[in-house]
Amino acid sequence: MTDTERCPVDDLATDYDIFDPDYVRDPVPAWAELRGSCPIAHTERYGGSWLPTRYEDVQAMAKMVPELSSASPGPIVIDLPVEMRQQSRQGYNAAAPISADPPEQTWTRKALLPHFTPKAIGPERDYSERLCNDLIDGFIDAEGCDGAVDYAQQIPPRVIASKLGVDQSRVDDFIGWVRGVLEFGLTDPELRLKSSNLIRDFFAAEVVDRRTNPGDDLITALCQTEVDGESLPDEVVIGMCNLQLVAGIDTTWSSIGSALWHFAGHENDRRRMAEADDALWDTAIEELLRFYSPVTMARNAIETVEYGGVTMEPGDKILMNFPGANHDPDVFEDPDTVVLDRQRNRHVAFGAGIHRCAGSNLARMEMEVSLKAWFARIPEFTLGDPDAVTWAGGQVRGPRRLPILFG
């Protein structure tokens, strides 16, 4: 939908629009208004959905299992033309465990989690440190760079490609496919399906390869994982790889980009981080995750659920508004200010409950390594043309163009 076709929103409580350019640029005022007037809002747009805005409600709804299903975790109803429906992969293994409910969610998650614990991601830390410095080498002699395109966007695809053990030279393809699914594809079902199938075909070939030529990588490890004495089926491994790519790229680059956007525009915070110790880095990263939480997931009711004064009917979509929850003044003091040394920060940027982001440790590490590497070599920087900054929103919110000037 183009902006000229977009109907203006006249009542947020009954007609919010997650793709409204003002909402994408800064959703905080809309959440504040709704928390005061209609904490669980509804819209008919994009197939209809509910939007909780209070921390307590988002926490409660994230834990409504099995009443709310994760089988269709995208934020809008994708209405595929009939002739394309049979090409679309449905079911729990499309991207397990994120697309699964218990019991499949439980065993697929158990198969995946050991590879993403704080201790398991050591090799990725070393890799990320080298990568970030190589990227900075590429632009540090210039007057500036695009912090989103030249830096943030380049990091997560390479880290996850390295972990999966796939060809690094395909990174531009990965970026294109993932944006085709999560960004442009949300309003273009054909592109979404095509991108999704390209990812699946790519990983189907990788899985066939690892079954005969095992390597030292995550795809091999998943191929060799047994649940109750049986290997994971190919379809499940392919779905898990799909998840790694789709969930591991847009999200983390959005967080790194939002952090750079913040510091480029907030001189005092930038100066403070240029001299930060590890304790301040830890709280600052959590605070940036809270304030600029990129990810909104969704559930679908599979039975009638009455909660918080609303009745959700079977099939209704409910947005897991983790970003909105993280700005709730009932939980966070001064929620709409970035407080770099915030000590109490029970944010839910990575979700809550059984679908807590499986890659959260990897994402935090990438944020820490990328921002520390940047600040070590580029402690002074400002925003270039503010009007040239663009934001993506919907499922994953973050800057997509971010001109930065050094010095």
């Binding site: 989690l113 050991p114 614990t117 830890d282 109490r344 029970r346 990575f350 807590r356």
Partner: protein, 65 residues
């Protein structure tokens, strides 16, 4: 002071482990458990409160003052 991580509530956010590896560890799935039977060494009471206040699952509690 004694703390306890409720293993049914913990979902592996690892914030406690990042903030206070002397008080908690994580298992092979990344889920947390208290060290030293939950006994908080003298002088680390504030750290214990910090990990309680930063758990997104409300999974850590003081079980003995």
């Amino acid at each position: 002071m004694k703390i306890h991580v409720d293993r049914d509530k913990c979902e592996g956010h690892s914030r406690c482990y990042a903030l206070a590896p002397a008080l908690v560890d994580v298992d092979d799935l990344g889920n947390a458990f208290e060290l030293n039977d939950g006994v908080v060494p003298a002088g680390m009471e504030e750290k214990a409160q910090l990990i309680i206040d930063n758990c997104p699952e409300f999974a850590i509690a003081v079980i003995e003052d």
